[in-house]
Structures are given as C-alpha cells and as structure tokens.
C-alpha cells in the first residue's frame, strides 16, 4: 500500500479554490475530458465497480452497485444528488472539500451524473455552510463558462445542469429520503423504503444520492482506472477532542484506530491521558484503549476523550442532540430521545433514581429495535456504550 498518496487533499491550500485556471493547471477536468472523448457511461460504470468504491456518508454502500441500479431504470428523467448536508457533530470533511477543492467535487458530480444517465444534479448543502455555497456557486459559473457544464459539454451530446439547494438546519435531512422531501418543499421526514430512491427518488424519478467525499474520488478513478484506485483508496478522518493534530487528514482506507490516533493524530494533547474515543460523530460507538485495534468505521470522525473530561457533559451533548434532531414522526424516537435527555439531566444533577436506571435500558432497547429510521438507533449507540463500558449507572 502506498502510504502517502492524496486523492482529495493533494492541492488543498496550494491552489486558489476560486480560480478554475489553477485547477486546470494541475490536471483538473482531465478525467471529464477522458470520460467524454474516450469513454462512455457504461465504461465509466465498469471502472467505478472495479474500484470497489463504497459510500463515505456512513453506510458504506457500494457506489458502483447503486449507480447500476439507477442506470438500469428505464425512466428518461433521473437525478443525481450530492449529499453535503453533513450535520453529524464533529464532522466537517465535506465542508473542507467544498471550500478547498470545489472543482474536484464538481468534476466528480458531472461525471457521476452523466454515468447514471441523468441531466440534472443537485447539491444539498448544509444550511450553515455559507462560505461553501459561495465557492461552489462560483465554481459552477466558471464550469459553465468553460463549457464543462451546460449544453453540449465539450462539444459532445451530453448536457447537464447543476443546482445548489441549501438546507435549513436539520440533521435528519442528511438521510436520503428526508433530504428528498426537503428539496420537494416538505418537512424533512424520512420516507418508508422500499421503494428506494434509486427507483423512486426526487420528484418520483430514479435518483442516486452520494456523499460529497465519495464523489470527490470519482475523477481519480476515471483518470487512473478502478484497479489502480483499489490499491490506493483513501479516507478523510476528522480528528477532534484531546488529540494533538486536530483537523482533517487523508490517509489510506482501512487504518486501525490506534494508528490514526497515535501516529497520524500525534497522540494525546500535552498532559492528557486517553480515556476513550468516540468514532463516527454523535451516533458513534465508544472505544476503550484496549479496543483500538480495529478499523475506523463510519464517517471518519474521531473524538478523543481524556480522563479528566466530564462524562455528564458529553451525555447531555449526545442526548440533547438527538432530542433536538428527532423529526418527531415516530413515537419511540420522539419520546425516547426526550426521556433519555431528561434522565441524563437528572444523572448530571445527582438525582437519578433506580426507576430511571431501569428506564434507560428500556428506552435504549426501544430505540434500537423499533424506530422508523436509523436516527433512532443512532440515538442509542453512545449511551449504550457509556452504560456498558463506562458504567455510568453504577
């Protein structure tokens, strides 16, 4: 494995994100040109399937497989959506992609959309990401001026429109069916699946939804081939908490948590002692020191917690988050997240009763087994681990 290859962050801070010329000078849009002149959607799909690329939005679904499902649909109208909602606490890698390499992302979106046979793409952008909105907007105008977008791209028969849709602050809108509801002007509540968006998505048409980081890998795959990518695939990690090198880093996929924290991350910040790490945002599991020899899962966020941290503050942070962000559609999650947060408040105030302790286990089970969408299950993860591994109720 090549240890130092950078697919996404190579030019961060080295080229001006506001200038398309800078991106063109370092080989930007070469993949799109190759796609148009030497390939076709079928061939591109083969390469993406070969690459083994899987989703970076959390669930890890194979991108090639998803695209094939949309490409096979007979419908004339199809959509591609770049999921840049990124509301998971502790995760801001997609924002940095948009701000530092907007054209890389846009090139990925263009190739992805054409590959699945769509003519319209939408970027669903986190409502707080104002700077990213400006930068992406400018990138789209520049791509239009350079005929990399719009009608008859580079003189070919391909045409494509890309729109930005800004969200308005709702974590659940990162879930793809809720996201689609939100664009259609409804409450961002998840919908029952099946039918999956690949069949019946935006405006009822077949739709592929991909995370921004997933998409940023596409130009490399098209330019260098799926097999090459298989050898050198990378992942963005977001390091936070009591760790020396806080921020976003790109490293080979499949690294162990221990390597990421103690090598790439530089280990603990001065004077701090490792207690546990939360991996994957507020919905992430907790890992003790002895459990760190496993690959990093999920969105790539690692929050390192030191021994002096106040666990009650963190419990209030997690349970408060899910209480606010529960969309309210189903009772187990709406009530469960609310009660869990109340109990966390009593725990913090030293007023927890035996009845509360029993209730926690009941609520966790209910969240894990009966909620309508994954958000409810997410709400139980960290608290479950805190109960079992950190013994907060003892």
């Amino acid at each position: 494995m090549q240890k130092n290859i950078k697919i996404i962050t190579e030019y961060w801070g080295r080229i001006d994100p506001l200038k398309i010329e800078d991106y063109l000078n370092v080989g930007g849009y070469v993949a799109l040109k190759k796609f148009i002149k030497e390939m076709n959607p079928g061939k591109a799909l083969e390469e993406v399937k070969l690459s083994g690329l899987c989703g970076r939005g959390g669930a890890g679904f194979l991108t090639g497989k998803k695209w094939e499902m949309v490409a096979e649909q007979k419908s004339k109208e199809k959509y591609f959506i770049c999921n840049l909602d990124e509301s998971e606490p502790g995760v801001y890698k997609d924002r940095l992609i948009a701000e530092n390499s907007p054209h890389l992302l846009l090139e990925g979106i263009i190739i992805s959309t054409l590959t699945i046979g769509a003519k319209k793409a939408c970027i669903y952008l986190n409502g707080n990401y104002e700077k990213a909105r400006e930068i992406l907007g400018q990138a789209i105008s520049q791509a239009l001026e350079n005929n990399l977008l719009g009608k008859k791209i580079l003189g070919s028969e391909f045409s494509l429109e890309v729109e930005i849709f800004s969200g308005a602050g709702a974590y659940v809108c990162g879930e793809e069916t809720a996201l689609i509801n939100s664009i259609e002007g409804r409450r961002g509540e998840p919908k029952i699946r099946p039918p999956y968006p690949t069949e019946c998505g935006l405006f009822g048409k077949p739709t592929a939804v991909n995370n921004a980081e997933t998409i940023a890998n596409i130009p490399y795959i098209i330019q260098n081939g799926g097999e090459k990518y298989l050898e050198c695939a990378t992942k963005l990690f977001v390091l936070g908490g009591s760790i020396k090198n806080r921020g976003v880093i790109e490293a080979p996929i499949g690294l162990m948590m221990r390597e990421v924290i103690f090598e790439l991350g530089g280990g603990m910040s001065a004077g701090k002692e490792f207690w546990f790490a939360q991996v994957g945002g507020a919905a992430g599991k907790l890992y003790l020191e002895k459990e760190l020899d496993a690959p990093v899962l999920g969105s790539g966020a690692i929050l390192v917690v030191d021994k002096l941290a106040d666990i009650h503050d963190l419990l209030l942070s997690w349970t408060g988050f899910f209480r606010r962000e529960s969309c309210g559609k189903c009772v187990p999650c709406r009530e469960g997240t609310f009660r869990l947060n109340e109990i966390a408040e009593r725990l913090a105030d030293g007023e927890i009763s035996d009845r509360d302790k029993e209730a926690v286990l009941d609520i966790l089970w209910t969240l894990e087994n009966t909620t309508f969408c994954p958000l409810g299950k997410f709400a139980a993860v960290a608290v479950r681990d805190a109960v079992e591994k950190l013994e907060i109720l003892k």
Partner: protein
C-alpha cells in the same frame, strides 16, 4: 431589516412551485427575523398550498424562526468537541449572568439556546450572537462579546 423589501416582493421573485417553498421561507426569515402567521398566510396563498403545509415546513427547520426573535439571541454549540472545550461552562456562565435558562423561549430580551454542531469544531467552542459567529470562546471572553451587543 433590509429597507423596502416586503414579503410580496420576495414572493414575486420566485416561481410558485413547491421546490421554492423552503428557500422562500428562509429568505423571509433572513429579512424579517422570523416568519409571522400573516406572512405564512401570504406564502400559502402564493404557492397555492394550505397554511398547515406551509407552517409544518416553516416550523421544522432550525434556521427558520416562527416566533418573534429576542433582542439578544445567543446560541452556544453543544456538540461533543465544543463540550470538551467547556461549552457547557460557557452556557452556565451566560445563564448566571442574565439569570436565564437555556431553552427558555419566552424571554423577549434574551434567548439562550444550545445548538447542534456547526461543523467548525476545529475552531470551537462556537457561540453565535444575533447571527454573528464567534470562535474559540471561553468563559471569560464572553463578556467582551456581550458588550458589543449591549
């Protein structure tokens, strides 16, 4: 508030299709601070949707207010990273200073809210006062910030 802009003007600028509903409500929020019942009725009429449909969308999203905002709107990030940086302490400090409780929506002068992560964790703890974002806030630095808005 921007001068000369009315809800009618905002509405006329956009095509009446459901896809434009959320962006329009957001715009009204930006210009007037919140979406009032009267405004929601105008929006419903323009988009030919029921008032319930407009209101259920307006009330769903954090970035759209449906109640008149307070003179001082303070939000403190309560994501895990900011919390490890003492954002809970900052919330307590503000609660004690103004003698208010985070989450109390009924005080017309000051409102304090704990909010979800803003994706600026590297620069945390994050505090927002009347829309302006402050980074690396501490218990003691809040006083200077609040002075700016006094």
């Amino acid at each position: 508030m921007q001068k000369g802009i009315t809800v009618e003007k905002i509405l006329l600028e956009c095509e009446s299709k459901a896809q434009n509903l959320l962006p329009t409500l957001k715009k009204i929020g930006v210009v007037f601070g919140y979406v009032s019942k009267e405004d929601a009725m105008k929006v419903a009429e323009y988009f030919e949707l029921s008032l319930a449909r407009v209101y259920e969308v307006a009330s769903f999203y954090d970035l759209i207010e449906t109640k008149k905002t307070a003179n001082l709107e303070i939000k403190v990030c309560s994501g895990g990273d900011c919390v490890l940086g003492d954002s809970t302490g900052i919330v307590h400090e503000i609660e004690n200073y103004f003698r208010i409780k985070a989450g109390d929506e009924n005080n017309p002068k000051v409102k304090l809210r704990k909010i979800s992560c803003l994706g600026r964790c590297g620069e945390g703890p994050i505090m927002i006062v009347n829309g302006r974002v402050y980074e690396k806030v501490t218990r003691s630095s809040i006083y200077k910030i609040l002075e700016e808005w006094a």
